[in-house]
């Protein structure tokens, strides 16, 4: 029988309620994310981005809720559809565009692109493509922080329904559970993995049923509902922060675009689109703000305009930036100069 130190998974301390400013802040980030992504889609169609564009439309409420509850000293390893969470954690529109447009000034300097960007030194890990791989990495970062005597930190990472089928997901979550690490794993169940529907991805009734099998707390959220996402993530992140061990959050929602901008989403089941899971979280959040009387339509339209202007201006600026120069690149995979070698025709 498991005798983990971190057995009590349901920490009682209630988390702070979500206030109007919290909600509005999250909404603005969602809005920015949506507008940046629309810009990316346009740039893609205009042939200005080489390589793929993978958008998070429909997933902003969940994603922002992850990033917004993390702060300096925490770790965040976003995944494919986490533009909103990235911005909430401190990534910028500028670096987003630099990376997609291949500016030499971007954090990845043209060596890697799009969703693979990050700044590991700032707790913002740069995902590799292989799904699941970031889970143990975040767990390890947390272990190192614990060994170094730090306190009160958490780490979060996101994954899709499809990513839960990887061995890496399983090994990483299990290892984190054994050591009771403050890891929050957020599953965006957007009903598809590329074209593959849930029915060909897993057979459990609900992905949150996996939590008990790892001995971690399980949380469900309505991924189309910003308030529910904020509340659930607040609860999960604070439970992890105070020693509750890993937390598995599962949110249902629908990806509102194709897998990537090359994908026409022909496999979408129309019934899903019409069901509650197919709602657009950004629209619902707007409606909520207006219904609450926090802002009126005009004010929201103004925010939108402002953000579009900022994004467009940034894109124009980035397009004038230098692209990476192969002559300047040192073409070295190792940090230590002595270990470098090139053995191609001399």
């Amino acid at each position: 029988m498991a005798r983990s130190l971190y057995k009590t998974r349901n920490m009682s301390k209630p988390s702070e309620p979500v206030t109007e400013p919290d909600y509005l802040k999250a909404y603005r980030i969602m809005l920015t994310s949506r507008i940046v992504e629309e810009k990316l889609a346009n740039l893609y169609r205009a042939g200005m981005i080489k390589g793929g564009v993978f958008l998070g439309r429909g997933q902003e409420a969940l994603s922002v809720s992850v990033g917004i509850h993390l702060h300096r000293g925490d770790i965040f390893a976003p995944l494919i559809r986490d533009q909103a969470g990235r911005l909430a954690f401190g990534d910028t529109v500028l670096d987003t565009l630099r990376t997609y447009l291949g500016s030499q000034l971007g954090s990845m300097r043209g060596r890697d692109g799009n969703i693979h960007r990050g700044r590991p030194r700032e707790g913002y890990y740069a995902m590799i493509s292989h799904l699941g791989a970031m889970i143990p990495a975040v767990a390890g970062g947390l272990l190192a922080k614990r060994l170094a005597g730090e306190q009160g930190f958490v780490g979060a990472t996101c994954i899709g329904d499809g990513g839960t089928s990887t061995g890496a997901f399983h090994e990483g979550l299990n290892a984190a559970a054994v050591d009771g690490l403050p890891l929050v794993v957020v599953v965006a169940n957007n009903q598809y993995a590329y074209s593959t529907p849930n029915s060909r991805q897993y057979a459990c009734a609900d992905l949150v049923d996996k939590a008990a099998g790892y001995g971690v707390a399980g949380h469900k959220a309505d991924g189309t509902n910003l308030l529910d996402c904020l509340q659930t993530l607040r609860k999960a992140v604070s439970a992890a922060r105070v020693g509750g061990g890993p937390q598995l959050v599962v949110a249902n929602l629908l990806r509102l675009v194709g897998h990537g901008e090359h994908d026409d989403f022909s496999y979408l089941d129309k019934k899903l689109k019409q069901s509650p899971v197919g709602s657009d979280c950004l629209l619902l959040a707007e409606q909520h703000i207006i219904a609450q009387g926090w802002k009126n339509i005009g004010e929201l339209a103004e925010w939108k305009r402002e953000t579009e202007d900022e994004v467009n201006a940034t894109a124009d600026r980035v397009r004038r930036e230098p692209t990476p120069d192969p002559e300047e690149d040192d073409w070295e995979a190792l940090s230590r100069a002595e270990y470098r070698e090139q053995h191609t025709a001399p």
Binding site: G51, G110, R111, G162, P324, P326, W331, H343, T344
Partner: protein, 320 residues
């Protein structure tokens, strides 16, 4: 006109149609027809035999192995060759050892959409043929033409041993042929893709076409490169390579994968040790740079060998 990709689709169609033991397993290959559409319409044409898999590369290959033991002939699609690192254990330790250990062969085909394309980046561009060739127990093929993509895939399905089928994504759409071949060289035999007298270029996959372009460039200066398309890197047809070097006296090996222990290194090692006397000058190699494959097209096009870097190397080899 039939593309390289369509040839792969048609080979799978024919295998499904002619051999009831064949089935396909991989991510998004069913109704969707695969990330690259290499299985387009096949699930409709062959109901129940083109099966969508979860994102579980290790299980995908593991299942193919069990199916092969029971007499099936599975063709597995990795969405990208790069993700086969997650299935490596099943490929090299299970499929590749089964015959040696138990006497029961393991007829699976693992299709790896391989190699670089513009904007692919570090995780959608890798060439894994040298890795799989290192382990005993696998046949590793690298078709470079539409005809070979078709006939080698069909042949691979008939082979009782596990075959790693490295199809090159760079060739998918733009490489075209008028028709499909009726006959072809068997797997294990290299092909002289271009005859020449001045130097032998040994290559495979997308680099065949860069090498042919380099040869055309040198031909303008009056130098004739002979180009050997390996077709399969394991087994590696040393005889054909040696026979060509015997004619030319010079060897340039060109490969898209990383240099250390890659195909160029194996070919040079074999020619040097088995055909030392045939070499008039030092053999040379051109490979990708020894870094991850960069994302930005401007970096990528310098990272990999191209017609012009191959031509430059050939000029040095010919001391011109």
């Amino acid at each position: 006109m039939i593309t390289y990709l369509e040839a792969i689709r048609l080979a799978q169609q024919k295998a499904l149609a002619t051999d009831p033991r064949v089935f396909l397993y991989g991510q998004d290959i069913g109704t969707f027809g695969g990330a690259f559409k290499a299985t387009k319409n096949l699930s409709k044409e062959f109901p129940g035999r083109v099966i969508d898999a979860p994102i579980s590369e290790d299980a995908i290959v593991g299942m193919a192995i069990g199916a092969a033991i029971e007499g099936a002939r599975p063709i597995v699609e990795m969405q990208f060759a790069d993700f086969s690192t997650c299935a490596l254990n099943q490929i090299v330790n299970h499929a590749a050892t089964l015959y040696y250990r138990t006497g029961v062969p393991c007829p699976i085909v693992v299709r790896l959409p391989s190699g670089g394309t513009s904007g692919g980046g570090p995780f959608h561009s890798q060439s894994m043929e040298a890795v799989y060739a290192h382990w005993p127990g696998l046949v590793v093929v690298t078709p470079a033409t539409v005809e070979d993509a078709y006939s080698m895939l069909l042949e691979a399905v008939t082979i009782d041993d596990p075959v790693v089928f490295c199809e090159h994504k760079f060739l998918y759409y733009h490489l075209k042929a008028d028709s499909l071949p009726e006959t072809s060289l068997p797997i294990g035999k290299a092909r002289i893709a271009r005859q020449g007298r001045d130097a032998t270029v040994v290559t495979h996959g997308a680099m065949l076409h860069e090498s042919l372009a380099a040869a055309r460039e040198l031909a303008e200066d009056g130098f004739e490169l002979e180009i050997v398309d390996l077709r399969s890197v394991k087994p590696l047809d040393t005889d054909t390579v040696l026979a060509s070097v015997a004619r030319t006296g010079r060897l340039l090996c060109v490969s898209e994968e990383w240099p250390w222990g890659g195909v160029t290194s194996e070919v040079i090692a074999r020619v040097s040790s088995e055909g030392f006397g045939l070499l008039d000058v030092a053999p040379m190699r051109v490979n990708a740079k020894d870094t991850p494959v960069p994302y930005h097209p401007d970096l990528w096009s310098v990272h990999r060998p191209t017609a012009s870097t191959i031509a430059a190397a050939a000029r040095r080899l010919l001391q011109i």
